[in-house]
């Protein structure tokens, strides 16, 4: 399998639970990378802490497994010091938007060229099922035993407002779309955000009585729809999938090259 060329297969089987969506994200992210024909030496994957962040250990790139929430800040240092490298930053929803929320909005604001993949399972899995910023009102979690009263973020709206120049959403059910979106996100010059709805059958699924991984993926099929579809107009509760933003804006590292020129430091 071509995907096998991109993994450190001595660490398989991986550490994720049976049916965990994160494996599907890994699977299709590698397919996206394969279609781009990038050299493995030119890819740096930076991750934080959590189930999702373990993804970096499994891929045969330069991998930087950092501290909780700070992956984008580490990645900023890598990218700015070596702008020719391709930066991919997979994060969980808690990692990206709770402890890492500040870094997330500021990386988006700078429009620094990297791809943030938010693997949204609506829970803290590594620590055993506490509510996350995307659990949403009404969800159950080990720290919300009487029902969660926290509202969730809309990752797409948040990313748009923060200035990301590529914003998209897909799910672990829609694997072909996911691969296509990740491919375009990596190719995009600027800060790209890809939200992937990714099931956690072990904690979110069990605590919210959502059934198996199969049931949860089926729900992604039933509760999502392509952007602007007729179905969305009839049922506004459907979650839209696809590319929401794709625009050209000055990219941070390119702009800094101009700063160097203005300062007279160009070679």
């Amino acid at each position: 399998m071509a995907v096998r060329d991109y993994i450190r297969d001595r660490f398989f089987p991986h550490m994720w639970c049976p049916g965990c969506g994160h494996g599907i994200v890994l699977n299709n992210m590698l397919r996206a990378i394969e279609t781009l024909e990038l050299s493995k030496n030119d890819i740096v994957m930076v991750s934080g802490i959590g189930c999702s962040s373990r993804i970096s250990g499994y891929v045969d790139f330069h991998t930087l497994h950092t501290i909780h929430g700070r992956a984008l800040a580490f990645a900023t240092g890598v990218k700015m010091s070596r702008p020719e490298l391709t930066l991919i930053v997979p994060m969980g929803d808690g990692d990206a938007l709770a402890i890492g929320g500040n870094h997330f909005i500021h990386a988006a604001r700078r429009n620094i060229d990297m791809t943030a993949i938010i693997m949204n399972n609506r829970i803290y899995g590594m620590t055993g099922g506490q509510y996350s910023p995307l659990s949403g009102y009404g969800a159950r979690a080990s720290t919300a035993p009487y029902m969660n009263i926290d509202q969730d973020f809309d990752v797409v709206q948040l990313s748009k407002a923060a200035g990301a120049t590529f914003v998209a959403r897909s799910t672990t059910y829609h694997v072909q779309q996911m691969t296509d979106i990740i491919r375009q996100a990596i190719s995009h010059k600027g800060f790209s955000v890809v939200e992937i709805l990714s099931q956690c059958p072990t904690y979110f699924g069990r605590q919210n009585k959502l059934g198996t991984a199969v049931d949860m993926m089926t729900r992604y099929k039933d509760t999502t729809t392509p952007i602007g579809s007729k179905a969305k107009k009839q049922n506004p509760d459907l979650i839209e999938r696809g590319i929401f933003v794709q625009k050209e804006m000055p990219e941070y590292c390119t702009e800094y090259e101009k700063v160097i020129e203005r300062a007279g430091g160009g070679a």
Binding site: M1, P18, C20, N27, T172, A213
Partner: protein
């Protein structure tokens, strides 16, 4: 473009955690779980090589090999 034709399902049994995603979503019901909760291709002749099992496998354990 000619439709790809199945050669074999290569399943990494040590990697398969038996979640059943491949079995459930196969449009032709080619796969089943065996007694040790591992995916096996029981009706390979029905396979249309859509590769959705390969793409959706959370364990990266399935490869659908086609004749080129």
């Amino acid at each position: 473009m000619a439709k790809p034709k199945l050669k074999e399902h290569r399943i990494e049994r040590d990697w398969c955690k038996g979640c059943g995603v491949c079995v459930h979503f196969c449009p032709k019901k080619v796969l089943e779980m065996d007694e040790s909760e591992k995916a096996v291709a029981v009706r390979p002749e029905d396979c249309i090589a859509c590769k959705l099992c390969e793409y959706r496998c959370p364990d990266l354990a399935i490869e659908v090999i086609t004749e080129s």
